[in-house]
Protein backbone atom coordinates (compact mmCIF):
# COMPACT_ATOMS: atom_id res chain seq x y z
CA UNK A 1 0.00 0.00 0.00
CA UNK A 2 1.16 3.50 -0.70
CA UNK A 3 2.11 6.21 1.79
CA UNK A 4 -1.33 7.72 1.15
CA UNK A 5 -3.07 5.33 3.54
CA UNK A 6 -0.23 5.03 6.07
CA UNK A 7 -2.13 6.65 8.97
CA UNK A 8 -5.13 4.40 8.31
CA UNK A 9 -3.10 1.18 8.15
CA UNK A 10 -1.26 2.23 11.34
CA UNK A 11 -4.63 1.97 13.07
CA UNK A 12 -4.34 -1.67 14.09
CA UNK A 13 -7.98 -2.79 13.58
CA UNK A 14 -7.46 -1.88 9.90
CA UNK A 15 -3.81 -2.59 9.13
CA UNK A 16 -2.44 -3.53 5.70
CA UNK A 17 -4.90 -6.43 5.47
CA UNK A 18 -7.86 -4.14 6.10
CA UNK A 19 -6.63 -1.64 3.54
CA UNK A 20 -6.49 -4.39 0.90
CA UNK A 21 -10.09 -5.27 1.72
CA UNK A 22 -11.21 -1.63 1.51
CA UNK A 23 -9.56 -1.23 -1.88
CA UNK A 24 -11.35 -4.31 -3.23
CA UNK A 25 -14.88 -3.31 -2.17
CA UNK A 26 -17.76 -1.51 -3.84
CA UNK A 27 -20.08 0.82 -1.91
CA UNK A 28 -23.45 2.11 -3.09
CA UNK A 29 -24.16 5.60 -1.73
CA UNK A 30 -27.76 6.71 -2.14
CA UNK A 31 -28.02 10.48 -2.01
CA UNK A 32 -25.43 13.20 -2.58
CA UNK A 33 -26.77 15.96 -0.34
CA UNK A 34 -25.25 16.77 3.04
CA UNK A 35 -24.78 13.20 4.28
CA UNK A 36 -24.00 11.98 0.77
CA UNK A 37 -21.26 14.43 -0.12
CA UNK A 38 -19.50 13.93 3.22
CA UNK A 39 -19.73 10.14 2.93
CA UNK A 40 -18.44 10.31 -0.65
CA UNK A 41 -15.46 12.36 0.49
CA UNK A 42 -14.74 9.96 3.35
CA UNK A 43 -14.91 6.82 1.17
CA UNK A 44 -12.73 8.43 -1.48
CA UNK A 45 -10.08 9.52 0.99
CA UNK A 46 -10.19 6.06 2.64
CA UNK A 47 -9.39 4.41 -0.70
CA UNK A 48 -12.58 2.47 -1.44
CA UNK A 49 -12.28 0.31 -4.58
CA UNK A 50 -15.44 1.54 -6.27
CA UNK A 51 -18.06 4.08 -5.27
CA UNK A 52 -21.45 4.44 -6.92
CA UNK A 53 -23.27 7.68 -6.10
CA UNK A 54 -26.98 8.01 -6.90
CA UNK A 55 -28.73 11.38 -6.72
CA UNK A 56 -31.61 13.11 -8.49
CA UNK A 57 -30.81 16.73 -7.63
CA UNK A 58 -28.42 19.49 -8.73
CA UNK A 59 -26.21 21.82 -6.66
CA UNK A 60 -27.93 24.97 -5.36
CA UNK A 61 -26.60 27.94 -3.39
CA UNK A 62 -28.46 26.92 -0.24
CA UNK A 63 -26.54 23.59 -0.24
CA UNK A 64 -23.12 25.18 0.24
CA UNK A 65 -23.59 25.85 3.96
CA UNK A 66 -23.49 22.14 4.85
CA UNK A 67 -22.65 20.01 1.81
CA UNK A 68 -18.98 19.11 1.52
CA UNK A 69 -17.16 18.93 -1.82
CA UNK A 70 -19.37 21.48 -3.60
CA UNK A 71 -18.16 24.95 -4.58
CA UNK A 72 -19.65 28.17 -5.91
CA UNK A 73 -18.63 27.09 -9.41
CA UNK A 74 -20.84 23.98 -9.17
CA UNK A 75 -23.77 26.24 -8.29
CA UNK A 76 -23.12 28.52 -11.26
CA UNK A 77 -22.95 25.49 -13.55
CA UNK A 78 -26.04 23.91 -11.91
CA UNK A 79 -24.17 20.60 -11.93
CA UNK A 80 -26.07 17.47 -10.92
CA UNK A 81 -24.84 16.57 -7.44
CA UNK A 82 -23.74 13.06 -8.36
CA UNK A 83 -21.57 14.43 -11.17
CA UNK A 84 -20.17 17.31 -9.08
CA UNK A 85 -19.34 14.90 -6.25
CA UNK A 86 -17.61 12.56 -8.71
CA UNK A 87 -15.42 15.35 -10.10
CA UNK A 88 -14.29 16.56 -6.69
CA UNK A 89 -13.67 13.00 -5.49
CA UNK A 90 -11.41 12.39 -8.45
CA UNK A 91 -9.33 15.48 -7.62
CA UNK A 92 -8.88 14.03 -4.15
CA UNK A 93 -8.08 10.45 -5.12
CA UNK A 94 -7.55 9.39 -8.71
CA UNK A 95 -7.18 5.74 -7.65
CA UNK A 96 -10.86 5.39 -6.76
CA UNK A 97 -13.41 4.43 -9.41
CA UNK A 98 -16.40 6.73 -8.98
CA UNK A 99 -19.65 6.15 -10.85
CA UNK A 100 -22.24 8.94 -10.85
CA UNK A 101 -25.86 7.99 -11.53
CA UNK A 102 -28.32 10.85 -11.92
CA UNK A 103 -31.77 9.42 -11.17
CA UNK A 104 -34.63 9.20 -8.70
CA UNK A 105 -34.09 6.22 -6.39
CA UNK A 106 -37.13 3.93 -6.37
CA UNK A 107 -37.59 0.21 -5.72
CA UNK A 108 -37.40 -0.38 -9.46
CA UNK A 109 -34.42 1.85 -10.22
CA UNK A 110 -32.33 0.93 -7.17
CA UNK A 111 -32.64 -2.85 -7.18
CA UNK A 112 -30.18 -3.49 -10.06
CA UNK A 113 -27.55 -1.38 -8.26
CA UNK A 114 -27.49 -3.76 -5.27
CA UNK A 115 -25.78 -6.45 -7.37
CA UNK A 116 -22.21 -6.98 -6.21
CA UNK A 117 -21.96 -4.21 -3.65
CA UNK A 118 -20.60 -4.85 -0.13
CA UNK A 119 -22.41 -2.05 1.63
CA UNK A 120 -25.13 0.52 1.08
CA UNK A 121 -24.96 3.91 2.77
CA UNK A 122 -28.16 5.90 3.25
CA UNK A 123 -27.88 9.59 2.50
CA UNK A 124 -31.47 10.14 1.43
CA UNK A 125 -33.82 12.76 2.83
CA UNK A 126 -37.04 10.79 3.31
CA UNK A 127 -38.30 7.62 4.98
CA UNK A 128 -39.98 6.24 1.87
CA UNK A 129 -36.67 5.69 0.09
CA UNK A 130 -35.11 4.37 3.31
CA UNK A 131 -37.81 1.73 3.59
CA UNK A 132 -37.08 0.71 -0.01
CA UNK A 133 -33.35 0.45 0.83
CA UNK A 134 -34.26 -1.55 3.95
CA UNK A 135 -36.25 -4.10 1.93
CA UNK A 136 -33.61 -4.37 -0.80
CA UNK A 137 -30.93 -4.84 1.87
CA UNK A 138 -32.85 -7.78 3.34
CA UNK A 139 -33.70 -9.30 -0.02
CA UNK A 140 -30.09 -9.15 -1.25
CA UNK A 141 -28.44 -9.72 2.19
CA UNK A 142 -26.37 -6.52 2.04
CA UNK A 143 -25.75 -4.37 5.13
CA UNK A 144 -26.85 -0.74 5.08
CA UNK A 145 -26.28 2.22 7.37
CA UNK A 146 -29.17 4.55 8.16
CA UNK A 147 -28.31 8.16 8.89
CA UNK A 148 -30.47 11.27 9.21
CA UNK A 149 -30.30 14.78 10.59
CA UNK A 150 -32.41 17.91 11.06
CA UNK A 151 -31.50 21.05 12.97
CA UNK A 152 -28.90 20.01 15.54
CA UNK A 153 -30.32 16.47 15.82
CA UNK A 154 -29.04 13.34 14.14
CA UNK A 155 -29.19 9.58 14.33
CA UNK A 156 -27.56 6.53 12.86
CA UNK A 157 -28.18 2.78 12.91
CA UNK A 158 -26.42 -0.04 11.11
CA UNK A 159 -28.54 -2.88 9.78
CA UNK A 160 -26.91 -6.25 9.10
CA UNK A 161 -29.33 -8.79 7.60
CA UNK A 162 -29.65 -11.91 9.74
CA UNK A 163 -27.99 -10.21 12.72
CA UNK A 164 -29.69 -6.95 13.70
CA UNK A 165 -33.32 -5.84 13.61
CA UNK A 166 -34.19 -3.83 10.49
CA UNK A 167 -35.55 -0.30 10.21
CA UNK A 168 -39.06 -1.66 9.70
CA UNK A 169 -38.83 -3.50 13.08
CA UNK A 170 -37.90 -0.23 14.75
CA UNK A 171 -40.25 2.19 13.09
CA UNK A 172 -43.17 -0.11 12.15
CA UNK A 173 -44.47 2.50 9.78
CA UNK A 174 -43.17 5.61 8.11
CA UNK A 175 -43.29 8.33 10.77
CA UNK A 176 -45.64 11.14 10.00
CA UNK A 177 -45.00 14.81 9.65
CA UNK A 178 -41.51 15.25 11.12
CA UNK A 179 -39.29 18.25 10.63
CA UNK A 180 -37.14 18.31 7.49
CA UNK A 181 -34.06 20.40 6.67
CA UNK A 182 -36.32 22.67 4.64
CA UNK A 183 -38.65 23.32 7.54
CA UNK A 184 -36.42 23.02 10.65
CA UNK A 185 -33.08 24.00 9.15
CA UNK A 186 -29.84 22.10 9.58
CA UNK A 187 -26.38 22.90 10.91
CA UNK A 188 -23.17 21.43 9.48
CA UNK A 189 -21.95 19.84 12.75
CA UNK A 190 -25.09 17.67 12.91
CA UNK A 191 -24.23 16.39 9.44
CA UNK A 192 -20.65 15.65 10.43
CA UNK A 193 -21.67 13.83 13.58
CA UNK A 194 -24.01 11.51 11.66
CA UNK A 195 -21.36 10.90 9.02
CA UNK A 196 -18.79 10.11 11.73
CA UNK A 197 -21.08 7.32 12.96
CA UNK A 198 -21.83 6.06 9.45
CA UNK A 199 -18.19 6.22 8.36
CA UNK A 200 -16.86 4.37 11.40
CA UNK A 201 -19.33 1.52 10.90
CA UNK A 202 -18.64 1.53 7.16
CA UNK A 203 -14.92 0.97 7.86
CA UNK A 204 -15.74 -1.89 10.25
CA UNK A 205 -17.94 -3.59 7.66
CA UNK A 206 -15.44 -3.03 4.85
CA UNK A 207 -12.61 -4.61 6.86
CA UNK A 208 -15.07 -7.32 8.03
CA UNK A 209 -14.71 -6.52 11.74
CA UNK A 210 -18.39 -7.23 12.39
CA UNK A 211 -17.96 -7.60 16.16
CA UNK A 212 -17.04 -3.92 16.35
CA UNK A 213 -20.20 -2.69 14.62
CA UNK A 214 -22.14 -0.32 16.86
CA UNK A 215 -24.72 -2.50 18.60
CA UNK A 216 -27.51 0.03 18.82
CA UNK A 217 -29.35 3.04 17.52
CA UNK A 218 -27.46 6.25 18.29
CA UNK A 219 -29.19 9.61 18.63
CA UNK A 220 -27.76 12.97 19.51
CA UNK A 221 -28.64 16.64 19.73
CA UNK A 222 -25.58 18.87 19.49
CA UNK A 223 -27.36 22.04 20.64
CA UNK A 224 -29.18 20.48 23.57
CA UNK A 225 -26.10 18.37 24.42
CA UNK A 226 -27.82 14.99 24.36
CA UNK A 227 -26.42 11.61 23.31
CA UNK A 228 -27.82 8.12 23.66
CA UNK A 229 -27.23 4.72 22.11
CA UNK A 230 -30.31 2.54 22.46
CA UNK A 231 -29.79 -1.23 22.46
CA UNK A 232 -32.05 -2.88 19.89
CA UNK A 233 -31.77 -6.63 20.44
CA UNK A 234 -35.38 -6.87 21.62
CA UNK A 235 -36.69 -4.95 18.63
CA UNK A 236 -36.26 -7.79 16.15
CA UNK A 237 -39.68 -9.12 15.15
CA UNK A 238 -40.04 -12.61 13.73
CA UNK A 239 -43.19 -11.47 11.92
CA UNK A 240 -41.53 -8.39 10.40
CA UNK A 241 -42.52 -8.26 6.73
CA UNK A 242 -39.06 -6.96 5.79
CA UNK A 243 -36.72 -9.18 7.83
CA UNK A 244 -38.91 -11.77 9.56
CA UNK A 245 -39.54 -15.44 8.80
CA UNK A 246 -41.86 -14.82 5.87
CA UNK A 247 -40.76 -11.57 4.31
CA UNK A 248 -42.86 -9.92 1.61
CA UNK A 249 -40.68 -6.81 1.22
CA UNK A 250 -43.72 -4.53 1.30
CA UNK A 251 -41.86 -1.38 0.26
CA UNK A 252 -40.82 -2.90 -3.05
CA UNK A 253 -44.41 -2.95 -4.27
CA UNK A 254 -45.87 -0.13 -6.31
CA UNK A 255 -48.75 0.48 -3.91
CA UNK A 256 -46.27 1.57 -1.24
CA UNK A 257 -44.60 4.18 -3.41
CA UNK A 258 -45.40 7.84 -3.77
CA UNK A 259 -47.05 8.46 -7.14
CA UNK A 260 -46.58 11.45 -9.38
CA UNK A 261 -48.75 12.40 -12.38
CA UNK A 262 -48.56 15.36 -14.72
CA UNK A 263 -52.03 16.87 -14.76
CA UNK A 264 -53.38 16.91 -18.28
CA UNK A 265 -53.15 20.31 -19.94
CA UNK A 266 -51.75 22.05 -16.86
CA UNK A 267 -48.26 22.97 -15.78
CA UNK A 268 -48.82 20.99 -12.58
CA UNK A 269 -47.73 17.68 -11.07
CA UNK A 270 -49.89 15.79 -8.59
CA UNK A 271 -48.01 13.93 -5.84
CA UNK A 272 -49.89 11.22 -3.98
CA UNK A 273 -48.51 9.36 -0.93
CA UNK A 274 -48.79 5.55 -0.82
CA UNK A 275 -51.61 5.65 1.74
CA UNK A 276 -53.76 8.61 2.74
CA UNK A 277 -52.08 10.57 5.56
CA UNK A 278 -53.82 12.58 8.23
CA UNK A 279 -51.93 15.84 8.17
CA UNK A 280 -52.58 18.44 10.82
CA UNK A 281 -52.89 21.28 8.34
CA UNK A 282 -53.02 24.00 10.95
CA UNK A 283 -49.74 22.90 12.59
CA UNK A 284 -48.07 22.32 9.22
CA UNK A 285 -49.17 25.76 8.07
CA UNK A 286 -47.75 27.49 11.11
CA UNK A 287 -44.48 25.47 10.89
CA UNK A 288 -44.07 26.40 7.24
CA UNK A 289 -45.00 30.01 7.94
CA UNK A 290 -42.21 30.09 10.51
CA UNK A 291 -39.84 28.63 7.95
CA UNK A 292 -40.20 31.41 5.41
CA UNK A 293 -43.06 30.05 3.31
CA UNK A 294 -46.01 32.22 2.36
CA UNK A 295 -49.01 30.24 3.57
CA UNK A 296 -52.70 30.55 2.73
CA UNK A 297 -55.16 28.06 4.10
CA UNK A 298 -58.74 26.97 4.43
CA UNK A 299 -60.03 23.97 6.41
CA UNK A 300 -59.38 21.63 3.46
CA UNK A 301 -56.01 22.69 2.10
CA UNK A 302 -52.85 24.72 2.47
CA UNK A 303 -51.37 26.77 -0.32
CA UNK A 304 -47.67 27.39 0.29
CA UNK A 305 -45.22 29.37 -1.76
CA UNK A 306 -41.49 30.05 -1.59
CA UNK A 307 -38.87 31.13 -4.11
CA UNK A 308 -41.51 31.19 -6.83
CA UNK A 309 -42.56 27.56 -6.29
CA UNK A 310 -46.20 27.01 -5.30
CA UNK A 311 -47.73 23.91 -3.83
CA UNK A 312 -51.21 23.03 -2.61
CA UNK A 313 -51.34 20.39 0.14
CA UNK A 314 -54.48 18.49 1.12
CA UNK A 315 -55.01 16.90 4.52
CA UNK A 316 -54.81 13.37 3.06
CA UNK A 317 -51.23 14.11 2.05
CA UNK A 318 -51.97 14.69 -1.63
CA UNK A 319 -50.31 17.75 -3.17
CA UNK A 320 -50.33 19.72 -6.40
CA UNK A 321 -47.01 21.21 -7.43
CA UNK A 322 -47.61 24.15 -9.74
CA UNK A 323 -45.37 25.54 -12.44
CA UNK A 324 -43.66 22.29 -13.42
CA UNK A 325 -44.16 19.17 -15.52
CA UNK A 326 -41.06 17.50 -14.10
CA UNK A 327 -42.24 14.59 -11.93
CA UNK A 328 -38.90 14.06 -10.17
CA UNK A 329 -38.58 17.75 -9.35
CA UNK A 330 -42.12 17.72 -7.97
CA UNK A 331 -41.31 14.75 -5.75
CA UNK A 332 -38.15 16.49 -4.53
CA UNK A 333 -40.15 19.57 -3.49
CA UNK A 334 -42.85 17.42 -1.87
CA UNK A 335 -40.40 15.31 0.18
CA UNK A 336 -38.40 18.36 1.23
CA UNK A 337 -41.49 19.61 3.02
CA UNK A 338 -43.22 16.43 4.06
CA UNK A 339 -40.18 14.14 4.58
Amino acid sequence: MSERYSRQTLFSPIGEEGQKKISSKHVLLIGAGALGSANAEFLTRAGIGKLTIVDRDYVEESNLQRQQLYTEKDVLEKLPKAEAAKRHCQDINGEVEVEAIIMDGTALSLEPLFAGVSLVIDATDNFETRMVINDLSQKHRIPWIYGACVGSVGMSFTIIPGVTPCLNCLLRSIPIQGMTCDTGGIIFPAVQMVVAHQAADALKILVEDYDAVRPGFSTFDLWRNQYQTMKVGRAKKSDCLSCGEAPTYPFLTLENATKTTVLCGRDTVQVRPPAPRKLQLEKLGSDLGGSGFTVKSNPFLLSVEKDGERMVIFSDGRALIHGTKDMVHAKVLYQRILG
Binding site: G31, G33, A34, L35, G36, D122, A123, T124, D125, N126, F127, R130, G147, A148, C149, V150, G151, V153, G154, M155, P165, L170, L171, S173, P175, I176, Q177, G178, M179, T180, C181, G184, I186, G216, F217, T219, D221, R224, Q226, Q228, T229, M230, K231, V232, G233, R234, A235, Q280, K283, G339
Partner: protein
Protein backbone atom coordinates in the same frame (compact mmCIF):
# COMPACT_ATOMS: atom_id res chain seq x y z
CA UNK B 1 -42.26 6.85 39.78
CA UNK B 2 -40.37 6.70 36.49
CA UNK B 3 -38.04 9.22 34.84
CA UNK B 4 -38.90 10.52 31.41
CA UNK B 5 -36.21 12.03 29.17
CA UNK B 6 -37.21 14.27 26.27
CA UNK B 7 -34.93 14.30 23.26
CA UNK B 8 -34.52 17.02 20.65
CA UNK B 9 -37.47 19.42 20.15
CA UNK B 10 -39.59 17.53 22.71
CA UNK B 11 -37.30 19.03 25.36
CA UNK B 12 -38.24 22.53 24.23
CA UNK B 13 -41.98 21.80 24.11
CA UNK B 14 -41.93 20.35 27.64
CA UNK B 15 -39.53 23.04 28.85
CA UNK B 16 -37.18 20.61 30.57
CA UNK B 17 -35.09 17.59 29.73
CA UNK B 18 -36.34 15.24 32.42
CA UNK B 19 -39.45 14.75 34.50
CA UNK B 20 -40.33 12.25 37.19
CA UNK B 21 -43.90 10.93 36.87
CA UNK B 22 -46.17 8.10 37.93
CA UNK B 23 -45.85 5.08 35.64
CA UNK B 24 -44.90 2.00 37.64
CA UNK B 25 -46.57 -1.09 36.03
CA UNK B 26 -48.00 1.03 33.22
CA UNK B 27 -47.26 0.17 29.62
CA UNK B 28 -45.50 2.61 27.32
CA UNK B 29 -48.70 3.44 25.41
CA UNK B 30 -50.40 4.58 28.61
CA UNK B 31 -47.41 6.68 29.62
CA UNK B 32 -47.37 8.30 26.18
CA UNK B 33 -51.05 9.21 26.48
CA UNK B 34 -50.54 10.74 29.90
CA UNK B 35 -47.45 12.69 28.84
CA UNK B 36 -49.16 13.89 25.66
CA UNK B 37 -52.08 15.20 27.69
CA UNK B 38 -50.00 16.77 30.47
CA UNK B 39 -47.49 18.55 28.26
CA UNK B 40 -49.42 19.12 25.04
CA UNK B 41 -47.04 16.90 23.07
CA UNK B 42 -48.31 15.96 19.62
CA UNK B 43 -47.29 13.00 17.48
CA UNK B 44 -45.91 10.85 20.31
CA UNK B 45 -47.27 7.79 18.51
CA UNK B 46 -44.46 8.02 15.97
CA UNK B 47 -41.73 8.73 18.52
CA UNK B 48 -39.29 5.94 19.40
CA UNK B 49 -39.09 4.85 23.03
CA UNK B 50 -36.11 3.53 24.96
CA UNK B 51 -36.53 2.08 28.44
CA UNK B 52 -33.22 2.05 30.32
CA UNK B 53 -31.46 2.58 26.98
CA UNK B 54 -33.16 -0.41 25.36
CA UNK B 55 -35.72 -0.33 22.57
CA UNK B 56 -39.28 -0.60 23.83
CA UNK B 57 -42.65 -0.80 22.13
CA UNK B 58 -46.08 0.35 23.21
CA UNK B 59 -46.73 -2.87 25.15
CA UNK B 60 -43.52 -2.75 27.22
CA UNK B 61 -44.37 -2.68 30.95
CA UNK B 62 -42.55 -0.13 33.11
CA UNK B 63 -41.10 -0.66 36.58
CA UNK B 64 -40.35 1.69 39.46
CA UNK B 65 -37.23 3.75 38.72
CA UNK B 66 -37.12 3.06 34.98
CA UNK B 67 -35.78 5.77 32.70
CA UNK B 68 -37.86 6.25 29.56
CA UNK B 69 -36.45 8.27 26.68
CA UNK B 70 -38.65 9.61 23.90
CA UNK B 71 -36.68 9.98 20.69
CA UNK B 72 -38.33 11.54 17.62
CA UNK B 73 -36.98 10.01 14.38
CA UNK B 74 -35.79 12.51 11.78
CA UNK B 75 -35.69 12.17 8.02
CA UNK B 76 -33.33 14.86 6.72
CA UNK B 77 -30.09 14.16 5.02
Amino acid sequence: MVNVLFFAHLKDVVGKEEVSVEGNEWNVARLKEKIAADYGLEGLESVMTAVNEEFADDETILSEGDTIAFIPPVSGG
